[in-house]
Amino acid sequence: MKKRRPASIFFTSVLLIVLYFALFPYPLGKELVAKPVWAVSVVPAPSNSPAGGEPAPTAGPQGAFPFRLGDVFGYVEPDGTLLHVGHRLFQVALSRSGYINYARTGTDWIMRDPRGERVVSFSGDGYPLLSADGSRVLVVNSDLTGLAEVDRNGDPAWTRDFPAIMTSISIQRNFLLIGLLNGSLQLLNRSGALLYQGPPGPSRIPVIYGCAVTRDGSFIASVSGIGPQALTVLGQSGASYTVALRAGLSTDFRREVRMGFSPDSRYLFYEAGDAVGLVEPQGGRLSAVPLRGLFAGSAFLQDARIAAFAARDGQRVNISLVFPFLRTLGSESFPVGDMFLGSVDGQLLLGVGGRLLRVDVEAL
């Protein structure tokens, strides 16, 4: 006699299939929606103001984002209101809370807030440098062997000399990482005291080509050396730093490379020839985002969920938007001269063709 299968087996099978899809859904991939929000022209108005042609301020500095497009710099608010537009003199040190527009020669500088109001004035030999949030004001001496920090009153807080020429620097609120021509990294604390120093790894000719430190100082990274050139990530281990990741590179840079950590310290990006290398220091993951041209800028959007990378290929600039370690969401190409890539309120701030554009990126 033929035995009948119980109906429960059928229902169990169906349930298991449903559960499988519920528990392990297939990632269909998100659709990128890039929505232009506003565009403004950033031609500075002629003026006799002291910092080089800035118009009178129209609003407060809260929430203003800095930009630099060729010789023009300024601050824009999330709604597209230009708070400040000026011409750089020789260079401009830009930060969220203020800027220093300085001439090629001179030893006296004024830091101004995003409205152009004087914050502090100070003196030194060399050129000024600001941290991204403007909380730190540094002076790099003219032969690149010394660094000084000035306090809120413009008085010297500390100075330090280095045993070789500085090739690169990474500034965080409480940390300062310096790469040297002799292949050594020096990590300093807020008061300029040495926390760590050493070469990141062996190479025929030790040189630091780029360096980066996370906001909390938990990781430091560098691209260094000739024969071989390598990426080294060091992780904090007690009072010192030990190698967390070391990868040989096929590049042969003889100039400074762009590199940095995402604001949340989750990702490290570095220039890698015709690509941007991405590293997740905590998990040890590495990947590469191919670029069309020379790496020219980066920005992290929406709490670093999305990264934007710019590459220049002659007179064209290509912007790529990626989900780190997942996929490239999309890319766009612009026939422009000067270009700026930044963020405003966690969204993309793009400077092309003398205009600033806010583009809100959504992945649906």
Partner: protein, 292 residues
């Protein structure tokens, strides 16, 4: 002090012996020195030489490998570079030379190897510069020190002796002019001098740094400073094997601290000698009285 002198001597001997710099040639044709090694440059030691002479080709002083280059307004930089456009070469024997303030765009395409005498670029006024010049520095990787290029470059004709304009005694917080016949208080003090070398090629006053300072009191050498190398000690660039910090060498207003003295009552005699790189020397002898 004897120990310090010994250290200076040992360091100089070491540098002279180990640096394989035979055959080092000038990086430019017109050798107009406008800034000298270890001068006080706004509060820190100057780490190289400034060479004027207008725009001219800058050559590799030895065969070498390119280790770093920066072209102003072309290359990315995370820090402002007062050196302007520059090229750093690595040479055999762990020596590095850096040619700075080069003309923007004169660096040419990126190459990795340069033969001695090959053109690196043209002198210019990029970076923190008041005019067209070349900033040239020489670095010894082995000892992690900047060394004075004039110690190793072929000598330049110079018949002009350096100048000692005035000598002062710093004691008890006051500066006392020290001339023949002066009467000064007994005790410890510091001999300070307005002393410099002068450019020979111009008529106007253009002071340059010295190569050596020697101080003798009553026939006994009490101090010797040689401006031959700079290295970092405790986060400060220091001079020579004695590792003198800037504040031990310069007063901050253009005067040189020549050395400390302990003056006892009676008649004293001081010999202060200063020397430039060509070996020209000027000595000032001062006889004075030390009061009780």
């Amino acid at each position: 002090m004897r120990q310090a002198c010994l250290l200076v001597g040992v360091a100089f001997f070491f540098l002279a012996a180990v640096l394989p710099l035979r055959g080092l040639d000038w990086p430019v044709e017109k050798k107009i020195i406008i800034g000298t090694f270890a001068q006080d440059q706004d509060g820190h030691f100057f780490d190289g030489l400034d060479i004027g002479g207008g725009q001219q080709d800058v050559h590799a002083v030895l065969a070498g490998e390119l280790v770093f280059r920066y072209d102003e307004d072309q290359d990315y930089s995370s820090l402002p570079r007062g050196l302007g456009s520059f090229v750093a070469l690595h040479h055999e024997g762990k020596i590095e030379t850096t040619s700075c303030n080069l003309k923007k765009g004169s660096l040419g395409p990126v190459r990795t190897a340069y033969a001695a005498g090959e053109t690196l670029g043209a002198s210019g006024d990029t970076g923190s510069s008041d005019g067209v010049h070349l900033h040239f520095s020489l670095y010894d990787e082995e000892t992690a020190s900047f060394v004075n290029p004039l110690s190793f470059l072929p000598p330049v004709a110079d018949t002009q002796a350096p100048v000692i304009r005035r000598v002062l005694l710093s004691a008890g917080g006051t500066l006392i002019p020290l001339d023949n016949g002066a009467k000064v208080p007994a005790g410890q003090g510091q001999i300070i001098a307005e002393a410099y070398d002068l450019r020979q090629d111009v008529r106007f006053h253009w002071p340059l740094g010295l190569y050596g300072v020697r101080l003798e009191v009553d026939g006994k050498e009490v101090a010797r400073i040689v401006f031959d190398s700079l290295q970092v000690s405790d986060g400060r660039l220091t001079l020579g094997g004695a590792r003198l910090p800037l504040g031990s060498v310069y007063t901050g207003d253009g005067l040189v601290k020549c050395g400390g003295v302990d003056l006892r009552a009676g008649n004293s005699h001081l010999d202060l000698s200063v020397r430039n790189f060509a070996g020209n020397e000027t000595t000032k002898e001062i006889s004075f009285t030390v009061r009780e």
